[in-house]
Amino acid sequence: MPLPLVAIRNLSVVFPGPLRAVDDVSLDIAAGETLGVVGESGSGKSTLAKTIVDLHRPTSGQVMFEGQSSQAFDRLWFRRQAQLVFQDAASSLSPRLTVRQLLEEPLRIHGLAIGEHWAGVRGLLGAIGLPAQVLDKYPHQVSGGQARRIAIARALVLKPRLLIADEPTAGLDVSIQGDLLNLLRGLQQSFGLTYLIVSHNLNVIRRVTDRVAVMYLGKLVEIGSTKSLFSRPAHPYAAALIAAGPVIDPLRRRPRIVLRGEIPSPLRPPPGCRFHTRCHFVRDRCRVEVPPMARIAEGHETACHFPFVASSEEGSDAAPLGAGV
C-alpha cells in the first residue's frame, strides 16, 4: 500500500474543560481521494479539520503528512501542502482587504513575486467562475456563493495538495450547492487535489466522496467506501444517520432507526461506547467497554461491539447505489 498523504494516528484534541473534542482518532487520507467526514454538530469533525491544518495542537497522537510529523516540518512548506476553506467563508476573508489583496495575500506571505504568479491566479479565477469585476470589491460586497469561491481560490493560490472544505455548501441555495460541488470535482481533476470534506449534509457527502468517516462525540465510529457505508452501514449510529437522510430509491428497504434524545455533552461523555445512551441495540457490554475499530469488510471498519453485518439478502439489495446520484 502506498504511503498515505495524511496519516492521523491516535489523535486527541482536548480543550480546557476538559472537553475531548477529538478522541483517539486514527485514519488515513490517500493521495487523490476524497474523504468525507460526517457527524452531528459537536461530533468533533471541524476540530479534526482544524487540527490537520495545525490550527489546534494535538493533545496526544499526531498528524503526519507524507510520513512526517506535523510538528517536524517547515511551517511555510506545510502551508503550501494543506489548505482549509472555512465553514463561514465570508467571515474568513479579512474585511479591510479587497478581493485582489486577499488573493495576493498568500503570495506575499510566502514571498512569491506577485507579477510572476498573478497570471496563474487569474487563470484560477476563470476556473472557479469568478468574474474579474470582483477583484476590486470588498468581502461584504460579494454574495455568499462568491465569498465561498473566493475562499476556495485563495486556498488554491499556493497550489496545495490537500484541500479541506468545512461544510462547503452550508448556507448556499441548492442550485448553487450543485454548482459548487461540480466545481470542486473539476478542480480536483485539474489540480490533482486530495479532498477532506466535512459536512453534515449526507447528500453532499454521498455525491462527492470516495470514502466516508462517521464521527460521534469525538470518536470515529465507522469508516469505509462511500458505496459500502451508505448501502451497508454497520454502526447503529451510521445506520440511523443514513436512514434519516432522504431515500433516493423508494423500493429499497432499510432499517428505520429514529434516534432519541440529544447528543450527550462532550464535557461528560458516557463511559463505554459513546453511543450507548441513544442506541436501540444497547447491551450491557456497551456500557462499560469502549469498542475498538474492527474490520467488517474490505476497507470498511467500525467501532461497535455488535455491528450490523450484511446478510447476503441485504447485500444484493444495496448494490446499485451510485446510479441515482
Binding site: R79, Q83, F86, S92, S94, R96, P106, I109
Partner: protein, 277 residues
C-alpha cells in the same frame, strides 16, 4: 473616508463642531500671521478693553489678548495632538499585546491600566508634576499617561472580540506570522473605535492642559496658554474682566467644538460605541 465626512456634515451639531474645530486649528496654525507679537509689553495700555487696535483688549502688562489667545490655541492644539498621538499608539500597542498575547503579558498590562485608571485625572497629573516638575513637555507625558488606558482598554476589548474570528484563523492557515496578522489584520480592524476615542479625548486633554497651566504647573510665563491667561486674568479680575472672559470663552468654545465633532465622528464610524460617561 468621504462617507465619514458626509455623515458628520449631515448632522447639524457635527457640522457646527467641525467648522469651529477647523477654525480653531486654522487660527492656531496661522497665529503668527493673523495677530501680532503675543509678548510685546505696552505698560501704558494695560487692561484696555476691546478696540480696533486690540480686538480683545490687553492684559495686565498691556499685551495684546487676541494674539495671546491665538497663540494659546497653538499650545492647546500641540498638546492635544501630542498627547493623543502618544496615548493612542502606546495604548494600542499595550492593549493589543494584552488582548492577543499570553496571560503573563496580559496580567501586568491590565494591572497598569487599573492603576492609571483609578486616579482622578487631574489629581494624578498633579502628583506626577510634583515628581517630574512643571513644564509643557512633562504635561504632555503626564496627560498621555492618564488617558492612555482608555485607548488600551478599548484596543484590548476589540482584540478579544476579534481574536477567534475566522479571518484571522484563515491568515494563520495561509502561513501568516503573528506580526503580520497583528499589523495587517488586527489593527486595521480595531482602528475605527480607537479613532473615535481619540476624537473624544481631545476636549478632555485641552481642559486638563488648561487646568494644569492655570495652577502654574504647565506652560510657564511668558508663554501664552489658555490656562495661564485665565490665571493672570483671575489675578487682576478687579482691574479688568476681559482677559478672563475671552480666555474662558475660548476654552469653552474649543471644548464644545471638539466634543461635538468627536460625537459626530463616533456616530459616523460606529454608533454602537455610544456610551454614557
Amino acid at each position: 473616508m468621504s462617507t465619514i465626512f458626509s455623515h458628520i456634515w449631515r448632522s447639524s451639531t457635527g457640522r457646527f463642531g467641525l467648522i469651529l474645530a477647523v477654525a480653531i486649528i486654522g487660527s492656531a496654525a496661522f497665529a503668527p500671521w493673523l495677530a501680532g507679537d503675543p509678548n510685546r509689553i505696552d505698560v501704558f495700555n494695560r487692561f484696555a478693553g476691546p478696540s480696533w487696535q486690540h480686538w480683545m483688549g490687553t492684559d495686565h502688562l498691556g499685551r495684546d489678548l487676541f494674539s495671546r489667545i491665538l497663540h494659546g490655541a497653538r499650545i492647546a492644539m500641540e498638546v492635544a495632538a501630542a498627547v493623543t498621538a502618544i496615548a493612542l499608539s502606546l495604548g494600542t500597542v499595550l492593549g493589543v499585546a494584552a488582548g492577543y498575547g499570553p496571560r503573563q503579558v496580559e496580567r501586568p498590562i491590565l494591572i497598569l491600566f487599573d492603576i492609571l485608571y483609578s486616579f482622578p485625572n487631574l489629581i494624578f497629573a498633579l502628583a506626577l508634576v510634583a515628581i517630574l516638575g512643571p513644564g509643557l513637555d512633562n504635561v504632555v507625558i503626564i496627560v498621555a499617561m492618564t488617558v492612555m488606558p482608555h485607548f488600551g482598554r478599548i484596543a484590548r476589548a476589540q482584540v478579544l472580540r476579534l481574536k477567534h474570528a475566522p479571518f484571522l484563523e484563515a491568515e494563520r492557515v495561509l502561513g501568516a506570522s503573528t506580526a503580520r496578522i497583528v499589523f495587517r489584520h488586527v489593527i486595521p480592524n480595531i482602528a475605527g473605535p480607537l479613532i473615535v476615542v481619540a476624537g473624544m479625548e481631545v476636549p478632555a486633554v485641552i481642559t486638563i492642559e488648561a487646568g494644569l497651566s492655570f495652577l502654574g504647573l504647565g506652560a510657564r510665563p511668558p508663554l501664552a496658554s489658555w490656562g495661564t491667561l485665565l490665571h493672570d486674568g483671575y489675578t487682576y479680575l478687579s482691574q479688568s474682566g476681559w482677559p478672563v472672559f475671552f480666555a474662558g470663552m475660548m476654552l469653552t468654545t474649543a471644548t464644545l467644538a471638539f466634543t461635538l465633532f468627536g460625537e459626530a465622528l463616533r456616530d459616523a464610524i460606529d454608533p454602537r460605541l455610544r456610551m454614557d460617561p
